[in-house]
């Protein structure tokens, strides 16, 4: 048996030991490959996808690659940790350090090679599904047909063989020469609990409170400035939470014999504190990674819903027309004819209303303001089913946009409520109340005055025209089609709401998809970290439980211990991440002044659900393994 054969057989006959490391490597390759299939799809290189999107995909690919590197590195180092005893035995038998590094290097190359091939094959199987999902989310005109991704295969293969090669070289750093006795006793010695000081625990709590407080308190543009400090403070706070506060709490629990010595608690807590150093680090990594995933997906989803909702709410008419300031009567007439003809062409029945917008310079509020006759207003209101307004004599109503618009400074209504409108007959009209409607689009708000008072306003200082159509019994497709045609024929003067939303979705789809993809990658790898944490120690746990089982441990008790142990491992970092994510999304909703509760609940809820399912699966296999050892 040559040394090479030994290394090979070591992997081949120890399949079960290597399978976790192999699978997580395979999974990483698969993720990268499916992304590559998508990114290199021919539809993108010839189609209408813009440069920024391709650039975004390249960046996303880079992020996934860098993350893969660290993920595989972590998997490997925890895998090597669990084999300390084996290395110790080899050294004892006279293997040199160089030989052990060579062996690990060979193993890694072997596993890396098969993981790359396996990942590519698995990716090919899933490719069709990914393309189908992408097609639906992206709203791409061309369908994403299945193709044989030669370029993606080559790129994935080369980059991952390179990655595994680099990681294999890294081994020498990880395999620092420990003392032989430490290696052999490896699994028995505790790495110890991190030192827990009361002061640092309090600081942890304070940092988190301060970070959360700031994130929740700031509003509008301040959110952007507060973001970086808050992220730093909260990250630091999270680290201290797991390394200090949790250690402190467990210590206190252990001191209280009434709790610690209660039935199976002793086994649970002693185990927790025994591995606290490893656990704290894992918890921290998982909490941060999951927070990134939650916030990324949550904000992208929220942002999309914000954009489309805003577009839909501000212009609630199917089509609106506003001419340029210097358009002649004829060209306006011509435009209107074209629009009406197009609508007819698409068989859309639409009610049309037009209105001369009259602006007056107002001294009391020191700016030009739009005045609308109440009868005009009511005509428009009827079109979209808003309530009619009938102001009394010498009374004006202030109208404000109800939709969420990012505005800085005082609200439009506040300025207008302080103003007054002088009439030509010497009387003065005062605003009486504020109404929020979407009837006319005017960011700074406007006055609705009674018809009689309107006649006394004199000549307007500026005039504009607004024409609106409200479609009746038209399908969304018809409206989108008409919008597309109108965009070509009348260019920027027509706003077709359904087409605009469609365009936003189309431009936004790839970004959402990339965000989702990266978010899911992060989330799933957080799950893998957990899996590794659990199964690195499974051999020790088996020994422990078989020792206890000899003394007498019922299956119920075993399950109870394992259940709590796995649940703590799975849910404590995720709960922290969920809280982080919720705070981050609340801050985001403050930035846009837009309610994200529904979006945040959907995103965070589905992650919590997935995590729960994952917990059930892992617990099942973990309990099964432990039971096989005890019986």
């Amino acid at each position: 048996m040559t040394f090479r054969q030994f290394a090979f057989n070591n992997v081949w006959r120890n399949k079960r030991l290597y399978i976790a490391y192999f699978l997580s490597s395979l999974f990483t390759v698969m993720v990268f490959f499916t992304f590559a299939i998508f990114a290199f799809h021919p539809a993108f290189s010839i189609g209408s996808i813009r440069g920024e999107v391709l650039y975004g995909m390249a960046v996303a690919g880079g992020i996934i690659y860098v993350f893969s590197f660290f993920f595989i590195l972590y998997s490997m180092s925890s895998f090597l940790q669990s084999r300390k005893k084996e290395f110790g035995l080899l050294i004892m038998l006279g293997a040199s350090n160089k030989q052990i590094r060579w062996m690990v290097f060979l193993e890694n190359i072997l596993i890396g090679f098969f993981a790359t091939i396996g990942g590519i094959v698995a990716g090919l199987v899933f490719a069709k599904a990914i393309l189908l999902i992408a097609e639906n989310i992206l709203i791409i005109d061309e369908s994403l047909h299945f193709y044989f991704p030669t370029l993606a295969i080559v790129i994935t293969f080369v980059s991952f063989i390179f990655l595994f090669f680099c990681i294999s070289l890294f081994v020498s750093v990880i395999l620092r020469t420990n003392k032989l006795v430490d290696l052999i006793k490896g699994d028995k010695q505790s790495k110890g609990e991190p030192k827990a000081s009361i002061i640092l625990s309090i600081i942890a709590a304070l940092l988190l409170i301060a970070g959360y407080g700031t994130a929740l308190y700031v509003e509008g543009a301040e959110v952007v400035f507060a973001m970086v400090p808050v992220i730093i403070v909260v990250t630091l706070g999270t680290y201290l939470l797991f390394t200090q506060l949790s250690v402190y709490i467990i210590r206190q629990l252990k001191k209280n014999k009434l709790i610690f010595w209660r039935k199976t608690n002793m086994l649970l807590f002693s185990d927790l504190s025994f591995r606290m150093k490893d656990n704290a680090r894992t918890f921290f990594i998982i909490a941060i990674i999951s927070t990134v995933a939650f916030s990324a997906i949550g904000s992208l989803y929220g942002f999309q819903s914000y954009l489309t909702k805003q577009a839909k709410e501000i212009k609630s008419y199917s089509f609106t027309y506003a001419p340029w300031g210097d358009d002649t009567e004829e060209s306006i007439e011509n435009d209107l004819n074209v629009i009406n003809a197009t609508l007819k062409e698409e068989k859309i029945d639409a009610k049309m209303e037009s209105l001369k917008l009259t602006y007056f310079d107002n001294e009391s509020i020191d700016s030009r303001v739009l005045m609308v006759k109440s009868s005009d207003y009511n005509r428009y209101a009827a079109l979209i089913g808003e309530e009619e307004l009938n102001p009394n004599v010498n009374e004006a109503i202030v109208i404000e946009q109800s939709s969420a618009i990012v505005t800085y400074g005082p609200k439009a209504s506040e300025t207008l409520m302080d103003g007054s409108i002088p009439l030509e007959n010497g009387e003065v009209v005062h605003p009486s109340k504020v109404v929020e409607t979407d009837v006319l689009t005017e960011i700074n708000g406007y006055y609705v005055v009674p018809d009689k008072a309107f006649e006394q306003l004199g000549t307007p200082d500026y005039q504009d025209l607004s024409v609106a159509w409200q479609a009746e019994n038209a399908t969304e497709e018809q409206l989108i089609k008409a919008g597309e045609k109108l965009k070509e024929r009348v260019e920027y003067k027509v706003t077709a709401i359904d087409y605009t939303v469609y365009e936003i979705n189309k431009a936004y789809g790839p970004i959402l998809f990339i965000g989702l993809f990266i978010g899911i990658v992060f989330f799933v790898s957080a799950g893998s970290f957990l899996y590794f944490r659990l199964f690195t120690d499974v051999e020790g746990e088996k020994r422990k439980f078989s020792a206890i089982a000899k003394i007498g441990l019922t299956e119920k008790e075993l399950k109870r211990i394992v259940n709590r142990q796995v649940a703590l491992l799975f849910f404590s970092p995720i709960v922290v991440a969920l809280v982080h994510g919720a705070v981050a999304l609340t801050a985001l909703s403050h930035l846009f002044n837009y309610d994200l509760t529904l979006e945040a609940t959907i995103v965070l809820g589905s992650f919590a659900f997935i995590q729960f399912v994952y917990f059930l699966i892992v617990r099942f296999s973990y309990v099964k393994q432990l039971k096989s050892a005890t019986l």
Binding site: F274, I551, G552, T554
Partner: protein, 254 residues
């Protein structure tokens, strides 16, 4: 106390292997019995069957008139926890726990009160001379101390039957002597029945009776007379009569 009637064990496999054949054995309450025999003679199999870790193929095991092998799995775990005490060659202490926590573990699992556990652990620790190491971790203590901790753990719930598998196998002669003296003391004071499997004639000489088995069958037994020294000599004689170490290949290895 403990009664084995025609216990046989056959390991099924490609080649069925008969590990035990028609073993009849009875142990009185408060008796200390050692089982000796060459490697592969079936000592450990027998102990595993008595300790309910393994089931006999045929025959019956009775502990205090009850057959534990008829119990359901969960009841069996409770039975083991309450009626039996175990001492292992490699101690089987949990390294995540301190010495004191290891000792009280069986009671903890049963949900005893902290005060009771503390008191019992304290009393045992004083008897066994380990009260100074109660707060140490298991990897900080020596083998002899570890075995005394294991004895304390086995004794804390006052078991009816104490089972020991090579308790001196990992210890030096001084520690072996201490541990054996302790077991004898427990046996005399608490009237706990004791069954010990061992290779060590020195350890076996502390017992009241030594049962020799060979090739899965009872070979013979000798009782302790007046002097421990003479008993030790008888055991040595019996071992050399049985063929000693030279012939202790099991039938599997040949």
């Amino acid at each position: 106390m403990l009664k084995l009637t025609k216990v046989s064990k056959i390991y099924e496999g490609k080649v069925a292997y008969r590990a035990l054949t028609d073993i009849d054995l009875e142990i009185e309450k408060g008796e200390f019995v050692a089982i000796m025999g060459p490697s592969g003679s079936g000592k450990t199999t027998m102990l595993n069957i008595i300790s309910t870790n393994d089931t006999p193929t045929t025959g019956k095991v009775e502990i205090d008139g009850k057959n534990p092998h008829e119990l359901k799995k969960n009841k069996l775990a409770k039975f083991r926890r309450n009626e039996l005490g175990f001492i292992f060659q490699d101690f089987n202490l949990l390294h995540t726990l301190t010495v004191e926590e290891n000792i009280v573990l069986p009671l903890t699992l049963d949900g005893a009160s902290v005060k009771e556990m503390k008191e019992k652990a304290k009393k045992l620790a004083v008897n066994l001379g380990i009260e100074s190491i109660m707060n140490k971790r298991t990897y900080e203590i020596s083998g002899g101390q570890a075995q005394r901790v294991a004895i304390a753990r086995a004794m804390i719930h006052d078991p009816k039957l104490l089972l020991a598998d090579e308790p001196t196998g990992n210890l030096d002669s001084k520690a072996s002597k201490d541990v054996m003296n302790m077991l004898v003391e427990i046996n005399e004071k608490e009237k706990t029945s004791l069954l010990m499997v061992t290779h060590d004639p020195q350890a076996a000489s502390y017992s009241d009776r030594v049962v020799f088995i060979r090739d899965g069958k009872l070979h013979s037994e000798i009782y302790c007379g007046e002097s421990r020294q003479a008993f030790f000599q008888k055991i040595i004689d019996m071992l050399s009569l049985m063929g000693g170490d030279g012939n202790d290949f099991s039938s599997v290895r040949v």
